[in-house]
Structures are given as structure tokens and as C-alpha cells.
Symmetry: C2
Subunit: 231 residues, 2 copies
DNA sequence: TCAAAAGTGTTCACCGTACACCCATGG
DNA sequence: CCATGGGTGTACGGTGAACACTTTTGA
């Protein structure tokens, strides 16, 4: 600590992380909120957040926060943006770094249900969360859309086996627009990351729709190389 | 300060901003470094940085830092990413938020030269800066490339009047690849944001090349709507 | 038998890409 | 008169977009 003359103790601030967590099910795109357990704004809906500790970096903090509130682990997270308005948290100066995560609702819902402070909302019907969380969510949605058009997406959000209808609905709910069935399927198939299974899912039609899964290796490769999807 | 029970004083940290500043001239893409004036790493090259103060947000801090070190004002800046490795700054725990800026070298070089701790480097020949600044720069370059392909770019980096050759060189040095003259010009013209002037610039050829400027209104509109440039 | 979703190809317009020659001028 | 960079157009292939009918089967 020899050099602290240029490092002014007075200007230290609290740093938080807030996680925007997206999920998907039959109803469409969902977002996970928690009921805030302490004042101020106790009882209101909020993104999952927590403070950065001295012994961890931001990514670790985001992972810890997610785990401690939901029990979820090994979730892909990505840093988004830092929010620093002086009064964004009324209690004390706090900077917050937002992270976003995609989770497979089907796979993790059991774990989640244990904690009833957490609740999924249909994205379009979610209540207004506290502080500047709505801003964070809007930026996250933009990022999610960009990702959907430049990288394969679905493995993180869909059940292991899914129908083309589900995949298309996922994209539709992210992009918030109707897509042409044939064009969507043709394009997605041309990525060569899907494996068509023998099985059919008959829950949504008499005829039954073939199930698909992702070829994980090819999926990861495509993810790295990226593409330019026009839909 | 009634609610500080959940807000632990102990975990406060210093927050810094670091600015990645790009410029452009005949030699190509440039980056601005400063010679660090205090220990540790005194005398080494560094991004322009400084600490966030209690009375400002991050964007204000970035603007202030840029101004105090270079005298430059009204520069477009954009937040990039936050760096939080525990030992990234050897003196004390510091989180740094990177910002990037594009500046018009021609317009501002006079002001800049006053401060001789600041120096432009050809991007490809820049020395290795301190701490994790190289990482920051790499991320900034990726962002700059993405911007170049999805938004018009040049107004911030070129002199008011410029030739097609200069514009093409700008793109070539950002994307680090040769571009086809005709295709580039055709595509850029199709954006309908350039105004062809009567004047010619004769410094680089006998025949002389027509000068252009940006139609500021159309430029800003295109900037908002964005596009998808393939080059 | 009929309702509801699954599945499947083609055509057209547009855009990206590759490519080569003449022009104007100062030295 | 010639060397240097400036300026211009076309042809081809690939991709995005629009579009409709037949199949299956449980109720």
C-alpha cells in the first residue's frame, strides 16, 4: 500500500451485480424476478442482485448471486453494462453491473420452485421492477435479439428435445415478430446443427411433430464462428 | 442511511474509468496513450484513466478524465466493459470501466500537442500498456469493427472534407483488410449520406480527387437506423 | 369426416462480388 | 509523353422473401 496517495479512500463505492434471467416455455419468453426481502422497496419485484465482495470478481459475484437465490449452477452468463447514476439506489451510492443469463426453464424449474421469492413473468406482462432495473432489462433484450441473429440460440432455453414449432416460437418471442414457417425451417436447417429424431411429439397435434435436438459439437462451433441470420 | 444494514461498508471498492481513444490519419488507425505519471508503473504507457468521484457518474468521469488529460471536449464516448480481476491493479482493489472514443485527429491535434504526456501510436505498433489495458483495447477494436459495419463511421475520425481514398483507407485500417475500390464507393454512395464537393484534393495525385463531406442530417439518421454493411 | 397442425419447393428480386480500362494531369 | 492515382459499369451467383396445398390422425 505504498502508493495509495493517488488512490483516494473517500471515493470508494459499493458495487453490485444484477442478473437479467431469461427463460422460455409454451407461453413465450419469460423473465425471472425476486421479491425484494429488505428495505427500501421491500416486497417489490427486482432483478436478482447482490453486492460484490472483496474476494471475488464480477463474474463470480453474478454466479454466486444466482446460485444463492435460485440454486442454479453452471449457467451461462454474460456481462452487459454498468449503471452509475448517483441516486440510482436511494440508500447509498452504488454502481451496478448487469449480467444476463439464459436458462432452461424445464430443466431447472424443480430447483427453482423451492424458493418462492423467485417468480417467472411473461416478458410482456412483467411488473415494473425497482430502481433502474427496467433500463437494464431493455438493454438485455436488445442484446438477446442481437445474439439470436448472430449465434445459434435455443440450447440454453429449450428442453433437450423440441419441435420445430417450439424453436420457431422461441425466435418469434425473442424478436417479437411472426416468422415464415418454411423459410425459418430452411434457414435453420442450413446451419446444420440440428439432429432430427425418430420420435414425435403429439401433444400439440394429431399428426405429431418430429422432435429435434442440437448437435452439441456443431452447435458450439457455429456459436464461435457466428453467422448473419435475416429473419 | 437507515437501511445500511444490508449495505456493507467493508466491501466498497475504488472504481476507475479507462478511455480507449481512436484516431485516424494518413498512416492509418491510431490510438492515444499517456505516460503514467505516478507509481507503480510510472513512465509506462497507459490508457487515459482516472477514478470515479462521488459526485459524478461513470460517463461524467470518462468525460472529465479525457478533458483533464487532453483538453478535448464534446467527444462522443461509449461505455464498453467492466474489469474486475482482484489483482488487476497491484496497489488496491480497483474495478475499471472502459470507455471508447473516436476523435478527429486533424481537428484536435493542436490542443493535444500541449500536453506531451499524451502520444498517438499507430495501432499496429503501439507498445504494450500497463495492467489489463491491452485486453480493453482488444475488446474496443472488436466494437469498433462492429460499429463500422452497422453504422456510418468517419464523421468522428476524418477531416471535414475528405476524399474517397481516405474514407476507404479508414475502413481498411479498421477492418484490417483490403477493400475493392468500386464496390466500396458504390456501397457507400448507396447510403446517401455523402455530399460531393466541387473542390479537388491534389496532394496525392496529379489528376486530383474530389472532396466529399458528410450530410450531417442524413448521417445522423443513418446512424440511428443502422445498416448491415458487407465489405 | 373434419379440424388442426405438420410438412414440403419454387420463383423472383435484390445484393454482394469479381473484375479492367480510360482519364486527367504534373513533372 | 508517361507515370500515377482517379474514376467508372457489368455480369453472375447466391440468398432473402413471398407464397399454398397436401398429409395425418384423434376426436
Amino acid at each position: 500500500m505504498t502508493y495509495l496517495n493517488h488512490y483516494n479512500e473517500e471515493d470508494k463505492v459499493l458495487v453490485a451485480v444484477d442478473c437479467i434471467i431469461f427463460g422460455f416455455d409454451e407461453e413465450g419468453l419469460k423473465i425471472l424476478f425476486v421479491k425484494r426481502g429488505f428495505e427500501p422497496e421491500k416486497g417489490k419485484w427486482s432483478l436478482m442482485g447482490g453486492f460484490l465482495k472483496r474476494e471475488e470478481n464480477l463474474a463470480e459475484a453474478a454466479t454466486r448471486v444466482l446460485f444463492s437465490l435460485t440454486g442454479l449452477q453452471d449457467i451461462y452468463m454474460e456481462q452487459l453494462y454498468s449503471y452509475s447514476e448517483i441516486d440510482r439506489d436511494p440508500v447509498t451510492r452504488t454502481i451496478s453491473v448487469s449480467y444476463f443469463a439464459l436458462i432452461n426453464k424445464n430443466k431447472y424449474d424443480l430447483k427453482l420452485n423451492i424458493k418462492n421469492e423467485a417468480q417467472w413473468f411473461k416478458f410482456s406482462e412483467a411488473p415494473l421492477p425497482i430502481f433502474d432495473h427496467q433500463q437494464m432489462i431493455e438493454k438485455a433484450l436488445i442484446r438477446l435479439r442481437r445474439k439470436a441473429l448472430s449465434t445459434p440460440l435455443g440450447f440454453e432455453l429449450l428442453p433437450e428435445k423440441f419441435t420445430m414449432r417450439q424453436l420457431k416460437r422461441l425466435y418469434e418471442s425473442i424478436l417479437n415478430q411472426k416468422l415464415d414457417k418454411r423459410n425459418f425451417i430452411n434457414k435453420f436447417n442450413s446451419l446444420d446443427i440440428l439432429v432430427k429424431l425418430e420420435e414425435k411429439d403429439k401433444t400439440s397435434s394429431k399428426k405429431g411433430a418430429f422432435l429435434y435436438k442440437f448437435d452439441e459439437k456443431k452447435y458450439q462451433l457455429k456459436k464461435e464462428e457466428g453467422f448473419n441470420f435475416k429473419l
